[in-house]
Amino acid sequence: MFVCFIFLLISGCSKDPIREKTVDPVSPPPGDTAKLSYKNGIFVINEGNLSWANASITYIDNKTDSVYQDIFESANSRDLGDVAQSMKVLGNKGYIIVNNSNRVEVVSLKDFKTLASITGFNSPRYLEFIDSTKAYVTNMKKNISVVDLKSMTIVKNIATPYWTENLLHYGQYMFVTCIGSFNESSANRKAQVYVIDTQSDMIIDSILMGKEPVSITVDRKNKIWVICTGGYNNYEAPTLKRIDPVLMIVDKSFTFSVQQGVPSRLCINPTADTLYYIYGGVFQMPVSAGELPAEPLIPANGHLFYGLAIHPETGQVYVSDAVNYVQSGYIFKCSQANGQVLHTYKAGRIPGSFCFTPSSQK
């Protein structure tokens, strides 16, 4: 007991808060911080565990393949928050959507220091820019937030009683996937794609979808593609739908076999003629294909593929492995030709999405 008192006195002397620590010290940010540091690379947005508030950002340098962990925490001496959902960059700023912290963290791409925290969201999911002054942010609860990028505040809400998920900026319109009311069962959720006029911020049309439309992209022939998971608990078979944005109708639909789980993370290559998605493994499908591919480009083989992106310049496939959700995840850089793993990078907890720096987007 006496020994304990001594120990207590020693430990009691350090008044520093007792907080989480890492075994390996976090690697310093790349290069000279006086110069633009994060100019040619990939940000990996690590979701972290829900309600653990352990989200983080990993940076991969395109040229050297060097990996820098926890760059937000290094730059700002605090955690990023609870569940980082996605990130977008515009000019020299990055916008990180922190879902369960109901915040969008605006950071400088120079040193990753936070410039502002935009608050007032309702479980935000994804952000899409309309121009250099305006962006939309989808929310799981209630509405779509219209953000003024100059004042970095929410200036307006577009009322949607439903959970909106992913966005696609197409001409003067924003196509927004909508899952349906958050508190309803799969059967009662009305899944659709809203079409919003970005000038008036009004919903001008909606297109019925399969249950849970989660991903949206556009191909070179200006056809819009949407992946619908079929709803939680496999309510219906998942589908890949093609929308004609002129007629505002679904003009093609492919149905997945339910046995393999649910498809997600629809992406397109730089030439916009090949689709990629996760369905256990990573699948590759030319937009002209008459049916869904039978064999994956990258088989899962015990990996828990969670996030997917195609490099906008090289066309290489970046897929994340969340492993078991309670340890550091991995990123595999793979060849788009044969799916071969070209490089493996360590990431943070539950790497979910990717964001490419402006220079890697040309």
């Binding site: 808060p17 007792i18 109901n102």
Partner: protein, 530 residues
């Protein structure tokens, strides 16, 4: 009920004794309880005539509690009534790592109350009847995680439980018999505005236990028994009403080889809804090498299983009806030594024990293969757990001064034994949030009805990642207590002042969940004895 009972909801004052049965000894009460069973016991004091008490506690952060008890009876009948009420707002200040300022905890209120009535009736030291009714109410807010969010969605949990237990014991010369029947009715509401959840659960359970003990044959005790449990759950979160019938057959044999060696064997077989569960045996030996020295050596080998909870099986969307029970095979052994001085002024007891257990088919909530957006409980994990427990307890009386000193140290290494892919770095690593080292020590000094006590706890680092790359550092906690009792004839008035977390350690037990710093509690207690 739906998996576990929350110990924070059990007012400890309502029971004389909390008996924690570790490891294999838990098999004597029920199957399916890994890590031991907590059994709440009250034993009547047949010498009592009237005992009344009332206590009021005022504590930091708007926390108040009141307890009252009335025990009355004769040598053949005793009644014990207890009431408790507590209201806590838990508005403690903490340092917010996001805003970098000290803020006050909010939405962390707890309101609890309960009433317990127990009646004991004894006929000629032969028949003992016990009846218990216990009602408890618990309404609590679940505070938000520290994550810099300015938006807060309320989360609440309401629990109302009524337990009624009837027990009969017949004690004969060479045999005895006991029968217990209990009905538990629980209502629970969980509300989470963030997830739009507002679910009611209603749960009924009927437990029956019969035990027969026969010890007519020299050195041999035979104890057969039968248990029957019926569970009924109506829940907004389940797809329809779920029931479960559990029939358990129990057989215990104790054999005393000589004055030095005793052994015990327990066999158990459960049948759940017509399906036989795996057979669970346990074998233990106790050896006392010397006649005059209180040294005991014991060893146990056991097998146990835990049947999935009704939530694991049936929770809509997330439940997994295909779950198999978890298994645990284990070995444990230990040494106990005690020395009481002849005049009773000194007592020392020390114990060392170790265990190794192999847990298989462990149920872990994890993402469904090919559908990472859905988490379900699955039989995926293999865990090996081994550990050591060391304790040292002293009682010493030096004229008017009474010293009690107890120390408890545990070492526990629980490791993942299975991985899913080459990238999974968890193999052989410590389970998350399980500390390897824990120490607890208490030193109490009593003199002329003054009490000076201290309690020290050290919880070592707990990993927050299964690859053991990040961890919550260990934290020390010191609580001290000052007390004074005034005895006036049949009345006792006692005052106690307690300081918790004396050195004001700013710690987190779970990442980003704030914990209170230094805090105080003052208790005034009034007792009457006749």
């Amino acid at each position: 009920m739906l998996g576990q009972s929350d110990l924070s909801q059990i007012p400890v004052s309502a029971f004389n004794e909390i008996e924690v049965l570790y490891g294999a000894s838990g098999l004597t009460k029920t199957s399916g309880a890994f890590g031991g069973v907590v059994n709440l016991v009250t034993n009547p004091n047949w010498n009592n005539r009237i005992h009344a008490s009332i206590a009021q506690t005022l504590a930091s952060f708007d926390n108040y509690s009141t307890e009252a008890g009335f025990i009355a009876g004769s040598s053949s009948f005793q009644s014990n009534t207890r009431l408790n009420f507590s209201s806590a707002r838990n508005t403690f200040p903490y340092y917010d790592d996001f805003t970098r300022e000290t803020v006050t905890q909010h939405d962390a209120s707890v309101l609890q109350y309960g009433i317990t009535e127990e009646a004991f009736w004894k006929i000629k030291d032969k028949h003992l009847f016990t009846a218990r009714v216990w009602y408890s109410y618990d309404d609590r807010d679940i505070p938000p995680v520290v994550a810099g969010s300015s938006t807060y969605y309320p989360q609440k949990m309401l629990n109302k439980t009524l337990r009624s237990i009837l027990e009969y014991k017949l004690v004969m010369k060479t045999w005895n018999f006991s029968f217990k029947t209990a009905v538990v009715n629980q209502f629970m509401n969980y509300r989470n505005d963030s997830m739009f959840i507002n679910n009611d659960h209603t749960y009924y359970s009927w437990f029956n236990t019969a035990r027969f003990t026969y010890s007519r044959i020299k050195n041999l005790t035979i104890k057969p028994g039968v248990d029957y449990t019926y569970d009924y759950v109506k829940s907004d979160a389940y797809d329809g009403i779920k029931t479960r019938n559990t029939l358990g057959l129990y057989f215990e044999v104790g054999y005393k080889f000589n004055d030095h060696i005793k052994s015990q064997m327990i066999l158990r077989e459960d049948n759940i809804d017509g399906q036989f569960m795996p057979f669970i045996p346990s074998l233990g030996v106790e050896y006392k090498p010397f006649n005059k020295i209180n040294l005991y050596i014991n060893a146990n080998a056991f097998r146990n299983y835990r049947y999935p909870s009704l939530n694991d099986l049936y929770w809509s969307v997330w439940g997994n009806p295909d779950l198999r029970p978890e298994y645990d095979n284990g070995l444990e052994g230990g040494l106990t030594y005690n020395y009481p001085s002849e005049n009773g002024s000194f007592f020392v007891e020390t114990a060392v024990s170790g265990y190794y257990s192999w847990m298989r088919d462990m149920i872990i909530w994890s993402p469904v293969p090919d559908n990472p957006s859905i988490w379900k409980p699955q039989n995926i994990s293999e865990v090996n757990a081994r550990g050591v427990e060391v304790s040292l307890n002293l009682k010493w009386k030096i004229s008017k001064l009474h010293i009690t000193f107890s120390n408890n140290y545990t070492f526990c290494r629980s490791t993942y034994q299975e991985t899913t892919s080459a990238e999974d770095q968890s193999l052989g690593k410590q389970l998350i949030y399980i500390p390897e080292n824990t120490y607890n020590g208490t030193l109490n000094l009593n003199c002329w009805n003054f009490l000076l006590g201290s309690n020290f706890t050290f919880v070592d680092k707990r990993y927050t990642s299964s690859d053991n790359q990040s961890y919550m550092p260990g934290y020390p906690l010191l609580n001290i207590i000052f007390g004074k009792e005034f005895i006036l004839h049949k009345f006792v008035l006692s005052l106690q002042f307690k300081v918790n977390n004396l050195s004001n350690v700013d710690y987190q037990s779970v990442k980003n969940w704030p914990m209170p710093g230094r805090n105080y509690a003052l208790t005034v207690r009034f007792e009457f004895n006749k």
